[in-house]
Amino acid sequence: MNEQKWNELPEGVIVPEGGNSQDVYIVEGWRTFKPVVNLEKCTHCMTCWVMCPDNAVNVKGGKMLGFDYLACKGCGVCAEVCPVKVIEMVKEER
């Protein structure tokens, strides 16, 4: 985003839209490890999704699809809470 000049700001002290940070303010650089899921063994229990602090688990129709790596900070909570241990934290190769 280009930095706005003072006369381009909204009135007041607001962000005049909702939820614009995901995949725009990118936090993937925060990671040392990244989660990788084995979808073949995944039971789609949604525990990783409901426990993720960063809304970084992609889900649809009650199914786990994988991770939003732009939003994932690599905390490892998903792997820790996975009841069937199908999420592995692997070192980032950059």
């Binding site: 930095e3 006369n7 007041g12 002290v13 909702g18």
Partner: protein, 392 residues
């Protein structure tokens, strides 16, 4: 219609006529009766206002801010320690562009604790971003209260506003006041203009009160600074509309016999009336004196003041507050700044008077004019700041 009401009751009546959506307030002398009387209107069902009897002034302003950002017309009242307790929230409300109108019965700040008239409270709020109107009489307090709503809510303004009048001297005085009919007030104000964004608009979620770091804070401040430039025009437009309705015409300043005045006293609130009376007395003695009364103190009307004081030879600024450890009273600092680059500027002096409810009498004001004349003889004010009415 003419009424005789204590000014605080009168302002409560004005609030009834305005019928704000939300009033959140906490009692404090000498503004208590404003809220107390208004709560009776609520209890009687005379207004549909949601009254929030908060547990502190800080919460009063916090609740007012959230309500204002929700698109409500919002008022409160306070004074002294209460306004000081709001201090943090005053900044946030102004920067948030929340057009809250706060009634202030000006009172001294502690310590020593004192409940009487003094401008230290509003002067302490002078750099919070709030607009400020000041009133000499009960009539002006009433008229300013109604006009403040319209000024603050104008889409070109959208800033919160303090409506000041002197504690006890005005707040607890009964004077003859001409009031409007409820309907006149309501049609003059109309519905509160809808803000572009509202906290209650769940369809269009907006984040209010966000964080801005080194990369944006200064742009936010610059934008806020710019917005004050619209205020004076709106104040004058609203005053003109109000004059059409009432015949009472207000400006940004009130100039009293300034045209040929050699010595001018600058004053605010009730002392300005005493000063006018003194001017009439001194004029009979052939002394060319006048009074400049500041009605709009924030934003500070620099050009108007330059213009009003252009012909004066000696100007004495009367502060009913003091800036501890500072060079002078706060009003003087601002007047001096307004004139700093003028080529033919008058001699400038400052008096501190009326702190903590000490009377400012006609004799005091004669003495102040005398200081102005003496400075003309000597070529300067020496000392720059004099205390008037204090036991030496």
């Amino acid at each position: 219609m003419k009424v005789a009401l204590e000014t605080n009751q009168l302002i409560a009546l004005a609030m009834k006529q305005i019928e704000p959506h939300v009033v959140a307030a906490y009692p404090i002398t000498p503004s208590t009766e404003v809220v107390q009387e208004f709560s009776q209107y609520v209890a009687n069902g005379d207004v549909k206002t949601e009254f929030v009897p908060v547990e502190s002034e800080h919460s009063a302003m916090s609740a007012c801010l959230a309500a204002s950002l929700s698109g409500a017309r919002v008022m409160t009242a306070t004074a002294s320690q209460g306004l000081a307790f709001m201090w943090e929230m005053l900044h946030i409300a102004a920067a948030s562009r929340a057009p809250i109108v706060t009634i202030v019965a000006n009172r001294a700040l502690s310590a020593p604790i004192n409940i009487h008239g003094d401008h230290a409270d509003a002067m302490g709020a002078r750099d919070t971003g709030w607009l400020q109107l000041w009133a000499e009489t009960a009539q002006e307090a009433y008229d300013n209260t109604i006009q403040a709503i319209k000024i603050a809510e104008d889409p070109r303004v959208r800033f919160p506003m303090l409506v000041n009048y002197d504690g006890f001297t005005t707040s607890h005085a009964v004077e003859t006041v001409e009031i409007l009919e409820d309907e006149q007030v309501r049609s003059f104000l109309g519905a509160a203009p809808k803000p572009k964004y509202s906290l209650l608009d769940t369809e269009n979620p907006v984040s209010f009160g966000v964080l801005a770091l080194q990369d944006y804070y200064m742009e936010f401040r610059r934008a806020q600074a710019e917005a004050y430039k619209n205020v004076k025009d709106v104040v004058l437009e609203v005053a003109e509309d109000y004059a059409k309705l009432t015949g009472r015409k207000y400006g940004i300043l009130e100039e009293y016999k300034l045209d040929d005045a050699d010595v001018v006293l600058v004053a605010m609130n009730s002392a300005a009336g005493t000063a006018k009376e003194t001017v009439d007395l001194l004029r009979k003695q052939g002394k060319k004196v006048g009074v400049l009364k500041i009605r709009l103190f924030r934003p500070f009307p620099v050009e108007e003041i330059r213009c009003a004081l252009g012909n004066a030879k000696s100007v004495v600024v009367m502060d009913r507050a003091y800036t501890y450890g500072g060079p002078s009273g706060p009003l003087f600092e601002e007047i001096a700044t307004a004139l700093v680059n003028e080529t033919n500027k008058p001699l400038l002096g400052n008096v501190i008077a009326g702190l903590g409810g000490r009377d400012i009498t006609m004799e005091d004001i004669e003495h102040v004019f005398d200081l102005g004349f003496k400075a003309l003889e000597k070529g300067n004010f020496e000392p720059l700041v004099s205390w008037v009415g204090v036991r030496e």
